[in-house]
């Protein structure tokens, strides 16, 4: 399964310390995100990704090892991002 950024979204980021805030111009919603969720969402800019591709990219981006702990955190992050309407299945 692959995901992509909701095409109607328009993301604007701010970061203070290790907390990220993103404003979605498409929905008018503002979201608070932890570093893993923020890193995951940023990978989808202009591309579709499978979970494995996302895991590799986030691990490289955050300079950490791609392990089960990160995979678990990313799985939760993707679920949240889909729930917020920021990501959607790329099949449709």
């Amino acid at each position: 399964m692959t995901w992509r950024l909701n095409p109607s979204s328009g993301l604007h980021w701010r970061c203070w310390d290790d907390e990220w805030v993103v404003f979605d111009q498409g929905s008018g919603q503002t979201h608070l995100m932890n570093p893993v969720t923020a890193a995951a969402l940023m990978q989808f800019d202009a591309q579709c990704l499978s979970f494995e591709q996302l895991l590799d990219k986030v691990a490289a981006d955050m300079s950490v090892t791609s392990n089960s702990e990160l995979a678990s955190a990313l799985s939760l992050a993707v679920e949240q991002l889909v729930g917020l309407g920021l990501l959607e299945s790329a099949r449709g």
């Binding site: 604007h12 701010r14 203070w16 404003f23």
Partner: protein, 305 residues
């Protein structure tokens, strides 16, 4: 010319007829009402406010009317009319003055989208403004009134008006709304404070309004730069204590407390981001006003140092 320069009879004539014009910060009101308590409350609390010249633009016309029909005789009611609409449900007649205050707030909060508007008290000392957003019951207005009684300049007890150009805050300097236990707290804390007569059994309980010190009104044109965002909370028995709060959490809370963040889109997000970036953000617990004033005074002293 200020309202205090109007004779009592002239004040009532204007209220019953063409309307009393009144300048409050950047806005000009026209107030119409035949109700005596409105005239009395205005004379007490708004004596030092400027009456705009005939040629000046009026932003809002507020009509506080008696309800008609059988309501004139049986449990008489009062209602707020605006531009041919009735934004609030009618209230009992003796709630007329609080209704006027709430109506004046509503005019701004529902229409002044050329500001980013936060539901918040704002005070200033030594050139630095404190924004105090908080939900009802948090002790925000009590704390605001206490600080104003100890020399902090009042910009607003209800509405922070942030400029989109430079982020500075425009004062409103309208009377401070107090309710229930806060009334006695402020009377004891500052016996010189001038409060309007108490209105009981409103939707907020027993309410009154505290007059703004004349010296603060003299500076109503002086905007202030935001320096702190402080979320106050009255906690019985607690020692006054500031705790740093994350800027990201503060931004979300401020957005939730805003009257128009949701309609401003990216412009609102950028303005709010700028605000939290330039301010120190805190949670604040307190139970004693004297302690709270000492903590806030120490903050203001940082600017002098």
């Amino acid at each position: 010319m200020t309202l205090s320069e109007l004779a009592q009879a002239e004040l009532r004539t204007r209220l019953r007829g063409v309307g009393l014009k009144l300048a409050c910060g950047p806005f000009n009101y026209r107030i119409r009402s035949p109700i005596g308590a409105i005239a009395d409350g205005l004379r007490l609390l708004y004596a030092d406010y400027r009456i705009p010249a005939e040629s000046e633009f009026i932003d809002f016309t507020v009509n506080i009317e008696r309800s008609g029909g059988l309501r004139r005789f049986w449990r008489p009611q009062v209602k707020f009319a605006y531009d041919g609409t009735y934004p609030f449900v009618p209230m009992q007649l003796d709630h007329a003055f609080p209704l006027l205050e709430w109506a004046m707030n509503w005019c701004i909060s529902s229409q002044a989208d050329h500001f980013l508007m936060l539901h918040s008290a704002v005070i200033e000392r030594n050139g630095g403004a404190v924004i105090m957003p908080a939900p009802p019951g948090s002790g925000k207005s009590t704390l605001c009134a206490g600080l104003v009684c100890r020399g902090w300049r009042l910009l607003s007890d209800e509405l922070a008006l942030l400029s989109f150009t430079d982020g500075w805050i425009t004062p409103l300097a309208r009377p401070i709304s107090l309710k229930n236990e806060s009334l006695d707290v402020i009377r004891k804390f500052s016996p010189d404070a001038v409060l309007n007569q108490v209105t009981h059994h409103t939707t907020k309980g027993s309410v009154s309004h505290m007059k703004v010190p004349t010296a603060h009104l003299a500076r109503v044109a002086q905007r202030a730069r935001p320096r702190w965002v402080i979320f106050p909370k009255y906690v019985p028995g607690a020692n006054a204590r500031l705790t740093p709060r994350s800027k990201a959490q503060s931004l979300l809370s401020l957005g939730g407390n805003s009257f128009n963040y949701g309609v401003l889109g990216l412009k609102g997000f950028e303005q709010l981001s700028e605000l939290v970036s330039q301010c120190d953000c805190y949670d604040f617990e307190y139970s004693q006003l004297e302690q709270a004033v000492a903590v806030f005074d120490a903050l203001a002293q940082e600017l002098v140092a």
